[in-house]
């Protein structure tokens, strides 16, 4: 049994372990991994998401249990301080010695910190590790502004993080354009314009000479005599390979940093390999994830005695979304490797720039730049990498075919050779993916987990999606999100059918366009569509409703129901509070304040529900729709009525909103909130639609979510008056109701919506589809036809009669039992 030691548990170090695990290393080797950070390897590519989520575990490449399960001895918080090549051992900072047969240096890189006067002042940070981020976040709480030095990939990621912290952001770049290695002048200029629109100030051709301020930073001074005030500085000016271990053992390092390795990634000692950003291949340090993964694979394959191809150079193409702006750079983006001719398309109105470089003979695509629209990135990269022959009019590649059906054909996913590399991070080719799809894959999630493709940077996912759809289609599988086996339609198609054919019942719909008897999926779905369209009383077709909608209450453990009257915006008079107390007391109900500022009464027997509601309605209450996929609550803070900080009357507006949309049926439940000032006490940014008061009016946020996968709502419109706000909510909700898949909350819906929040803004605010008025009209119909469901039941003896447990007896259900807890009752289950 030989021993492998890996120094460094970053992304590449982890990938090396993953490759070894995949080839069952344990029969031949033991594997020990050292990581100096206090956590296992995490996804550094998506580091800035830590600012919006602050959940480190989400970023982990694999949980600690993964290492354990695969027999890997992972030693985090342990720094290797020396290598003894003579006796083949490494020494940790604790003074312990560990012996190896093969040593892998995956030490990565640290932030390059330029030697600027005043660099040691308080408020100066680097952007590299999770710990850096924690320091940045805690310091960011005390300041209003922050500046990033470095306008490259990582620097702009850092600028996004600054925006996410709610600070004003400046970026300082030494070169005359942003992302100088990836973008040309025109592309970089467009990116700059877009980032400036988002509120990031960009300063180009600036060499920082001094960091000013007393103890803490107060500003920057530049070589051209200008200066910039800032309270915080984040340095992201490049990387420096972590090669300091070389000094302890005399390994060769490159002048510009990095362990010198040959094409087998061996250092000057054949038993020591270097991979990732710590390695210098022909004088180049590769600072991207894809080449690092490739290096990890090479070395793993060598150690496992598998075939390897020499590592010489690596494609540095990249595609990413920078603060909402799509940027792509592929092949040789600037046309420096050979003489090229360029074709450029620029649309300043839409903010799109595309450039392709083609060989002088106009036979091959050499590389290019995309800003604002990277939809063709995957295909263009494939054409470069596979040396595909260009179409007669190469401009079609970036313009699309215009009218002429034949142009551009032959360049679809079909045209790619089997050897085409689809995922560059994991080096997975088309034929491998096709094989996996043929083994019975139905969706992209399965394809990802089975193939590992798309699990790195994620840039190839659109291409994988196309390939999946294309393969399924050629295999004769229909690729359609149909509702269930009873309806061969999507939810949206069913809605159209209901409207066009004026269908008002499930039975008619099933007879006309469905088959079988229906099921628990399509019945409530159709019920929701019918309610959103015709707004008829839902108990008219009670047996297609989920039990909560059928009995207009929430079923709870033990089979009893809970009752939630509407308390708009959480405002309630003492008299009404007393009524709730009296009712709960006389029926012996358990009471609790809900998360949505209402009062829930638990433990009501089904036959008690109409009587309870009769008393509630007499006292002026109405249904709270807690049982429905419909508007639940509009939470509010007390706003300018009482609060010394409030700038608008949040409670009154919340009441208006709640009463407007009460009873509205939707694909899933809807939650909302109104906050009276920016302190956001009503937590509006976690709601499906949330409103926050400003000095000038309201900011409207949409598609937030709590629950399993919390997501902050995004700003749809700012500083709008109440009327506009309601208009936009009308449009937003109706658009969601019409287009969402069943049981998708607004956040999930937005995540799937092509074009994201920008597209949603276009539809709701700019009305690019021209459906604004129609959506408002449909909403107005639902509002005008609202009636309290419980009021109708209470006043209708036939409906009331349905609320009993047995059809052949007037007894109650004897199986319901309670026990006492803290002076109230709770269900006593059979096992108690």
């Amino acid at each position: 049994m030989k021993r492998i030691i890996v120094i460094g548990n970053g992304m590449v170090g982890y990938k090396f372990c993953e490759k070894l695990v995949a080839s069952n290393y344990a029969a031949h080797y033991t594997l020990t991994v050292f990581g100096e950070e206090p956590w296992p390897a995490y996804d550094r590519v998506h580091l800035s998401s830590y600012f919006s989520e602050a959940n480190a575990e989400k970023l982990y490449m694999a949980p600690l249990s993964w290492y354990e399960a695969h027999g890997i001895d992972l030693r985090i918080k342990e720094l290797i301080v020396g290598i003894d090549r003579q006796s083949k051992a490494v020494i940790s900072h604790k003074g312990e010695t560990y012996f190896y047969d093969y040593l892998i240096l995956a030490t990565g890189s640290g932030a390059f910190v330029p030697n600027i006067k005043g660099i040691d002042k308080k408020g100066v940070f680097v952007y590299r590790t999770l710990e850096d981020l924690e320091h940045i976040m805690s310091y960011g709480k005390q300041v209003q502004s922050a500046t990033v030095i470095g306008g490259g990939l990582l620097g702009l990621e850092a600028a996004k993080a600054v925006l996410d912290m709610g600070l004003s952001a400046d970026v300082v770049e030494f070169a005359s354009r942003l992302m100088p290695r990836q973008l040309d002048e025109a592309g970089a200029h467009l990116l700059k314009t877009k980032l400036e629109q988002l509120g990031i100030q960009i300063h180009l051709s600036k060499m920082t000479t001094e960091i000013t301020g007393n103890k803490a930073i107060a500003g920057l001074a530049f070589a051209d005599g200008t200066s910039l005030e800032t309270e915080m500085l984040i340095i992201s000016a490049g990387i420096r390979p972590r090669d300091e271990l070389a000094q302890t053992c005399g390994l060769q390092v490159h002048d510009r940093g990095g362990f010198v390795v040959n094409d087998k990634l061996q250092t000057s000692d054949p038993y020591i390999f270097a991979i990732g950003e710590a390695a210098s291949v022909e004088g180049i340090v590769y600072g991207l994830i894809a080449p690092g993964v490739e290096m990890a694979r090479q070395v793993a394959n060598q150690l496992m005695g598998q075939e390897v191809t020499p590592f010489t150079s690596f494609d540095m193409s990249t595609k990413l979304k920078l603060i909402g702006v799509e940027v792509g750079s592929f092949g040789d983006p600037l046309g420096e490797s050979e003489p090229v001719e360029t074709i450029v398309f620029e649309d300043k109105v839409k903010g799109i720039y595309k450039r392709i470089n083609i060989s002088k003979a106009r036979k091959r695509l050499v590389g290019g730049v995309l800003v604002g629209d990277t939809s063709s990135y995957g295909m263009l990269l494939q054409i470069v990498q596979n040396q595909l022959v260009l179409p007669p009019n190469p401009e079609d590649l970036i313009l699309g075919s215009r009218g002429d059906q034949t142009a551009g054909s032959g360049l679809g996913i079909d045209a790619l050779p089997d050897s085409a590399q689809i995922c560059s991070c994991e080096n997975i080719c088309k034929s491998a993916l096709c094989g996996i799809i043929a083994s019975g894959i139905e969706d992209i999630g399965q394809l990802k987990s089975k193939s590992k493709a798309g699990t790195g940077c994620g840039g190839c996912l659109p291409l994988m999606n196309d390939l999946l759809k294309h393969q399924l289609k050629t295999m004769g599988k229909v690729v359609k999100n149909v509702v269930c086996e009873h309806f061969e339609y999507t939810r949206q198609e069913l809605l159209d059918i209901i409207k066009v054919k004026q269908i008002r019942s499930f039975k008619v719909l099933l007879t006309e366009v469905g088959q079988g008897d229906g099921c628990e999926i399509c019945k409530p779905l159709v019920a929701s569509l019918l309610a959103s369209t015709w707004n008829e009383h839902i108990t008219k077709q009670d047996t297609i409703q989920d039990t909560n909608d059928r009995f207009l209450a929430n079923i709870q453990k033990g089979g009893t129901y809970s009752v939630v009257p509407r308390i708009p915006a959480g405002e309630i008079t003492p008299d009404k509070l007393i009524v709730i107390g009296e009712i709960a007391k006389s029926y012996g109900l358990y009471t609790k304040i809900t998360g949505g500022q209402r009062i829930d009464m638990f433990g009501a027997r089904v036959e008690q529900l109409p009587d309870i509601w009769e008393r509630l309605i007499d006292a002026g209450f109405e249904s709270g729709h807690a049982y429905g996929k419909s508007l639940r609550t509009v939470k509010s803070c007390v706003g300018s009525m009482w609060c010394r900080y409030g700038v608008q009357d949040a409670v009154s507006f919340a009441i208006e909103i709640e009463e407007r949309y009460r009873g509205l049926r939707s694909p899933h439940k809807l939650k909302s909130a109104v906050s009276g000032c920016t302190r956001e006490c009503a937590e509006a940014q976690s709601k499906d639609f949330g409103i926050i008061a400003t000095e000038k009016g309201w900011n409207l946020y949409v598609c937030g979510n709590g629950g399993t996968k919390p997501q902050h709502a995004l700003l749809l419109a700012n500083d709008i008056d109440s009327e506009t706000c309601i208009k936009y909510i009308d449009r937003f909700l109706m658009f969601y109701i019409k287009t969402a898949e069943p049981l998708n909350r607004t956040a999930t819906w937005l995540n799937k919506l092509e074009g994201g929040i920008a597209y949603l803004k276009d539809v709701v605010v700019n009305d690019v589809l021209g459906i604004g008025e129609e959506l408002e009209k449909e909403m107005q119909f639902v509002i005008d036809t609202y009636a309290c469901e419980w009021k109708e039941v209470v006043n209708n003896p036939e409906l009331r009669a349905k609320f009993k447990p047995f059809v052949n007896s007037n007894e109650g259900d004897p199986s319901i039992k309670f026990k006492a807890l803290r002076g109230q009752k709770i269900p006593a289950l059979s096992q108690d």
């Binding site: 628990e520 009670d542 989920d546 059809v807």
Partner: protein, 126 residues
């Protein structure tokens, strides 16, 4: 052979106790309701506007909730089924077997309709 099977099953049916549960009109269209027989709770369902009838135990074996009568009915391929409102476990109304490939199963009962009334058949063990 088939005649023999028919004879056997009709003999089996003879030994059933047919309990007159309720009038057809007491049941909702295309859905379920619960009846009481001695100490037992039995869910009774109808499909196609009271053309087809099924019955099963009201207790969902998953979390032991008395709930199946309040579940949504439907079909899976040609198999009539009911889905528990608590955690969406589905059961065949023919065989009583789980349709979620789980070990749970439920007891089903024969139903017949005569002169406007619904009868559920119980063997002598009830």
């Amino acid at each position: 052979m088939s005649a023999l099977v028919e004879k056997l099953s009709s003999k089996q049916q003879d030994s059933l106790i047919w309990f007159k549960a309720a009038a057809i009109s007491d049941f909702p269209d295309d859905g379920g309701a619960c009846i009481k027989y001695k100490g037992y709770q039995v869910a009774v369902f109808n499909f196609d506007n009271k053309q087809r009838w099924y019955a099963c135990q009201n207790l969902c074996p998953h979390k032991k909730e008395m709930a199946l009568a309040r579940g949504l009915t439907g079909s899976c391929k040609d198999e009539p089924k009911v889905t528990c409102p608590f955690h969406k476990k589905s059961f065949s109304l023919h065989s009583g077997e789980s349709l979620n490939e789980e070990a749970y199963c439920i007891k089903t009962f024969p139903v017949k309709v005569e002169e406007g009334h619904v009868y559920v058949g119980f063997d002598s063990s009830y």
